[in-house]
Point group: C2
Chain length 751, copies 2
């Protein structure tokens, strides 16, 4: 069953993991997979509902605060809870942790966009009842979270149901793990009121003064009930008391609105969403239609491995659930599935997730870029604050543009994020050919980031150098001439020049004035790109991760006890920085993204070298090693790394899925299949494929969008089949061969 | 008047500075130069009394806390206040900020060890009175702070005097400056009781549960008074009401004891100190005797510049007031004159202050080293915690041995402190020839720090490398092969071997077992020292500050606006780290401390190069540049830098003297004169002098202790005169000449 994820365990540990696995979302709203009635006493739950980008600010405390350290940190805020429903049967409260569970099934339906829980329960006093909980966060009505609960006692029973809307919520705090959201456990401002049949609760954040509103209503079918509304401080509860002689169904509609999207119409908009009380079956139908279309465009099929296929579905499904589509939000590192990394947006989006959307849902991809473009003012201000005389320095982690990193060596110092963002804009342009976008968005981003590189870099002995940065590998911080950063900046500078050259003469004058472009700037960019220093070791024949990495002592990974991983939780950063040891792909990632900057033998030797010193303590690592292994013709290795990505969350291999899903890794699964095994690259000259099918699989197929076309690629043991499903004749490259595919006939090529 | 410091200004700014300038101390107890009655309303005062090493602990907050970041920070605590005395004359409260000041003189007597304030005051209603406030912190009775107040109205007056002992104190907080003590503004536990004629107040710190006790009594002479004691929460006040027909004198004795030094006898010991109520004149006499002896041993005389001579006296005097002599305390970066740097001990002691004591007060020097030796267990534990498999890593800043640095790139990363400490032990041995000390203290320190270097360093291409450290220059953090660190570690490793070799065979066996020394270790140390990599630029002919410093962009100091200094308060550390810009001497300091590791031309070129990129934003910088300028025969330059050191605090040139005195810089004054102008070095082969007298001076003379001798050195325009005042015939080097001086006859040599 590759379209479902099922998990029926009732241990505290797995239940926490399930809260993330079974989370629902639509890019705007996210609801964790908590259970309506809660767990047993003393069992931990991270109960959460989130709106993408809806955040508060807290002060950042520093033992020693230096100049331009961020003063405040934004944090995704847990909003009003509308999941909670308690059920009493003949006076006994239903719980999966009392009485006896005679049957239980919890399922996430990834083809249908619903989550379902069926429980056959015998109460402590012996009453039997079948309960079905179904829920969805609508893809088409973004404010709506709906629930359907069926109560079916084996013999007639007196039932009492209480469904609440609770503003008394707070964020979860785990002081022992820096990767988990911290602080902001304070209660929000809460106002509650009852209005006819709709319950209304509004919360406001303390500092950002953002409002969130939840309007909720419900309908009971199958019994005559006494209905009541109980008002408590910040909480409203609807209760139904009735005799159930057969199945009784409660449907709940919970609509969420917030200041960002609905300005002063929070309540009105929420009521509009509830209007007509759309039947749960209708909502299900809409979900199915939406997902049918999505899977038609985005599905990736691997023939011969069901468990893997399930992982692929799961990862793509959660990506879809997590991506903001409104240009004021992006993709939080943990999606909307948990509070880890405080709902911040990182480079994870650009490098690991954006390509999935770009190639399958370009409209969402465009929104993600527009969001980044909207941060430019903040990025310019940040550059100034840090000490630059020009340019834009994008924040390492943020929600609305302010730098939220409290540890700059593995935060602000990761200047590469500015190049990563530029890279995505360039990729978008290459895939869509959208000239308007180039002019209206890309030009400014490339210009301002180029100005940053010019200000922070300098030429010495004919080489343009970028000192004092941290590359992707967070076990090696504050270095000079990180290969990844330099090669990405080079690409960005070169494309900044190109972008201006692509503008029609008239536009160029207008925009040169708008962006205050000096004649001389483009020349400087060109020169800097040309002279960009890319450190190389003659001795090893590899690109050096930075100026001094290869001179350091090599960490003895073989003799490091297993329990000492991830290393960051067991060694002082100084100790980690002192060694050749990588948390994740760094130079190897540079080779993947910009393969034309190094010859194949260098990439091969670099791969071999860095593989030996990489711990993959970051979940952003496996997919890169998988892709580069495939690129270098090492199918076996590619497969082994890939396998680590596909089921990382389903199998909780990193042991922290409870804090939220590893969205970047999920994107990495798609990347590994398409960029890895199918060997796709998007280049200026067009698409390139270099397919490699692991021996474990019979087939691999997927679809991509490219300049108005829909292309299906299918690999089997012998050949690659390219079929144009929509759009005009396409020229591309298969290995080193120029190929043309027309709508009328698929092209089959040996692999 | 070179023996006095006078300042009669009454601006808020200068009064705060005066609190530091006029502070009194004896290495154990420190009392800021506040005024008894306080200032005007709304005027800021940092009112403080401190016991060296008496501290509390507070949690360190981190926005992002990584492994082995210190959890708590120790902070010098402001203890019970016994300075406060208010005086009412005919019902009008005396204040320097009401009525009219007809005369005022505030003087610190550095030859007599007292501070005096004479005020001729006319009250708002026109009453005239002369008041004299005198105070001392006894050098010979370390627990005692005494005050003498003379009240002399021009016509008979009704006077009311209230002298209090107040436990309701807190530390000063300035959230805008990271260099100022922060936090711990909470009140201490306070208990107060009246016991006969002695007032007793005890405070206890919240976390460390250390007690401090103040016992206070007073005597009024010259009038019959009604005496009363008022008890408030945590505060006791003695009042005297009387008619003054002539001068009336109040003497107060305040005795302080604490848990460290007096265990469970705090109250008893304090009462012992008060016993007999020693007359203020007796205490003055004792001070004078003590200081006569000190100045006889330690005074430095410069002929031809009174203002400079005053600065020299001032700096030496405060060094004497600040140095702990009990092996549980050391010299706080601000002495006992303020709360800046939270009373922590840094490398400042070893490199800037220890040599002064070593050469003039070797018994105090020994105590300072014993204190460091006592931290070994903590340093071993810290090494383990950070990730080392062996050795001792001394804390960058501490009171009792725990690392208190909350910003590791300019804290824990300064591994050189472990070499600095070793260096001092070696210097001590060279100056005293104390073999017992070598065996009982030095051996262990050198062994454990050598083990640290072996664990953190590694050999590559035949060179022993020390990666991932920060040198003295805090504008360049987290680098590889910092010259200073490497050359200091080399010296330390080499001496570790020597120290073992100097042990008699029997001792060696015993100690090898005690310290678990393996045969192979000494060989490794020797090899590492021999192969230590000392980065050098062939292009520039200088030692490179680290592997990559010279490749960075050079900061444009010339075009940096004056108000942007110190740079650390105006630029993000990443921006500073990215440039060739130094906060302070780094490589140049390495050349000063270990001149035999580089040839003279290299030192000269290094000096010229680094001088251009150094801001001297740290007060630890001038003296080093002065000494090296003198070493290189540049008397003018040496003089100009020296001048910045001598009056830095008196003239408040760094604008933060209010937070406490710059003790290291004060040591630097002595160093610049003795190591700089007199060109003294302590080497294994003996003392070396290379005198250079600036043209501004007629003479320079000083005395030093060396292997049981007292040697006086006098420079005049033509010659250096070496006179042996105590001890056996001495062989030393004057320039390149071997010289012998005997007790019977001074040696005069041309300079």
């Amino acid at each position: 069953m590759t379209w479902n994820v099922t998990n029926n365990e009732l241990t505290e540990e797995q239940l926490l993991v399930n809260e993330s696995l079974f989370s629902l979302g639509n890019g705007f709203l996210g609801v964790r997979g908590n259970v309506e009635e809660g767990y047993g006493p003393d069992m931990t739950s991270i109960r959460g509902t989130y709106i993408n980008a809806y955040h508060d600010e807290t002060e950042i405390e520093y033992g020693e605060k230096l100049y331009a350290f961020p003063e405040t940190q934004q944090k995704l805020v847990n909003i009003i809870d509308s999941q909670t429903v308690t059920i009493d049967i003949d006076g006994e409260r239903f719980s999966m942790f009392s009485g006896k569970i005679l049957g239980l099934e919890r399922v996430l339906h990834m083809d249908r966009g619903i989550q379902e829980r069926r429980v056959h329960w015998r109460s402590p006093k012996g009453k039997e009842v079948k309960l079905t909980f179904r829920r969805l966060v609508s893809f088409t009505r973004k404010e709506l979270f709906a629930q359907e609960i069926t109560i079916d006692p084996s013999t007639p029973a007196e039932v009492h149901v209480a469904a609440s809307v609770n503003g008394n919520v707070s964020n979860f705090v785990d002081p022992n793990d820096p990767r988990v959201a911290s602080g902001h456990a304070e209660r929000l401002h809460v106002t509650a009121q009852e209005a006819g049949e709709v319950l209304h609760v509004t919360n406001q954040t303390y500092e950002t003064k953002l409002n969130v509103h939840c309007a909720s209503c419900s309908l009971l079918e199958g019994a005559e009930a006494d209905k009541e509304v109980i008002e408590e401080e910040g909480k409203l509860t609807e209760t139904y008391s009735f005799q159930a002689d057969g199945p009784v169904v409660l449907t709940r509609w919970n609509a969420y609105t917030d200041t960002y999207r609905h300005e002063n119409r929070l309540k009105e908009k929420a009521e509009e969403v509830l209007a007509g009380r759309p039947a749960f079956s209708l909502l299900e139908k809409e979900q199915k239609e939406y997902l049918d279309h999505f899977w038609m465009q985005a599905n990736l099929k691997v023939g011969g491995d069901e468990s893997l296929q399930q992982g692929i579905h799961f990862n793509l499904y959660h990506l879809l659930q997590s991506a903001g589509r409104d240009a004021v939000s992006n993709i939080p590192a943990k999606g909307l599935s948990g509070e880890g990394y405080e709902g911040h947006y990182f480079w994870d989006t650009e490098i690991y997730m954006f390509p999935v959307f770009l190639m399958t849902q370009p409209e969402i991809a465009k929104q993600l870029l527009k969001y980044r473009h909207s941060l430019l003012d903040a990025a310019r201000a940040r550059a100034k604050e840090v000490g630059h005389s020009q340019g834009a320095l994008f924040p390492w982690r943020t929600i609305t543009g302010g730098e939220c990193s409290a540890y700059f060596p593995a935060g602000t110092a990761q200047y590469h994020i500015s190049a990563d963002i530029s890279y995505s804009f360039i990729q978008y342009y290459l895939v869509t050919g959208d000239e308007d976008f180039l002019r209206d968005y890309m030009l400014e981003v490339l210009t301002e980031t180029s100005r940053l590189w010019m200000d922070m870099g300098h030429e010495k002995n004919g080489m343009f150098r970028l000192d004092d940065v941290t590359g992707p590998d967070e076990y090696t911080c504050i270095v000079n001439n990180n290969y990844y950063t330099n090669v990405m900046a080079k690409h960005s500078l070169r494309w900044a020049v190109k972008a201006w050259q692509k503008l029609p003469e008239g536009d160029r004058r207008v925009w040169a004035e708008k962006l205050d472009l000096k004649e001389s700037e483009m020349k400087q960019w060109e020169k800097a790109a040309k002279n960009m220093y890319l450190p190389y070791s003659n001795e090893l024949g590899i690109q050096a991760q930075d100026d001094t990495f290869l001179n350091k002592k090599v960490w003895d990974l073989e003799n490091t006890p297993k329990e000492k991983f991830p290393l960051l939780l067991h060694y002082h950063p100084l100790t980690l920085y002192r060694y050749q040891v990588c948390k994740q792909a760094d130079t190897v990632l540079g080779h993947f993204l910009l393969e034309d900057e190094a010859d194949e033998e260098t990439m091969r030797r670099s791969y071999d070298y860095y593989e030996k010193v990489t711990t993959h303590d970051s979940s952003l690592s496996y997919c890169v090693f998988s892709m580069m292994a495939a690129r270098l013709g090492r199918g076996d290795k590619a497969y082994r790394y890939f396998i680590e990505t596909a089921r990382l969350d389903i199998d909780n291999t990193h042991k922290n899925t409870k804090d939220g899903l590893h969205l970047a890794n999920m994107g990495g699964t798609w990347l590994a299949l398409v960029f890895g095994f199918a060997g796709m690259r998007v280049k200026e000259k067009g698409l390139v494929f270099r397919p490699v099918l692991p021996k474990e699989w019979d087939t691999l197929s997927f679809r991509i969008q490219y300049q108005g076309r829909l292309l299906e690629v299918t690999l089997n043991r012998k050949e690659a089949v390219y079929q144009l499903l929509e759009g005009k004749t396409l020229h591309f490259t298969h290995r080193n061969e120029s190929v043309t595919v027309t709508a009328s006939r698929p092209v089959k090529l040996a692999i």
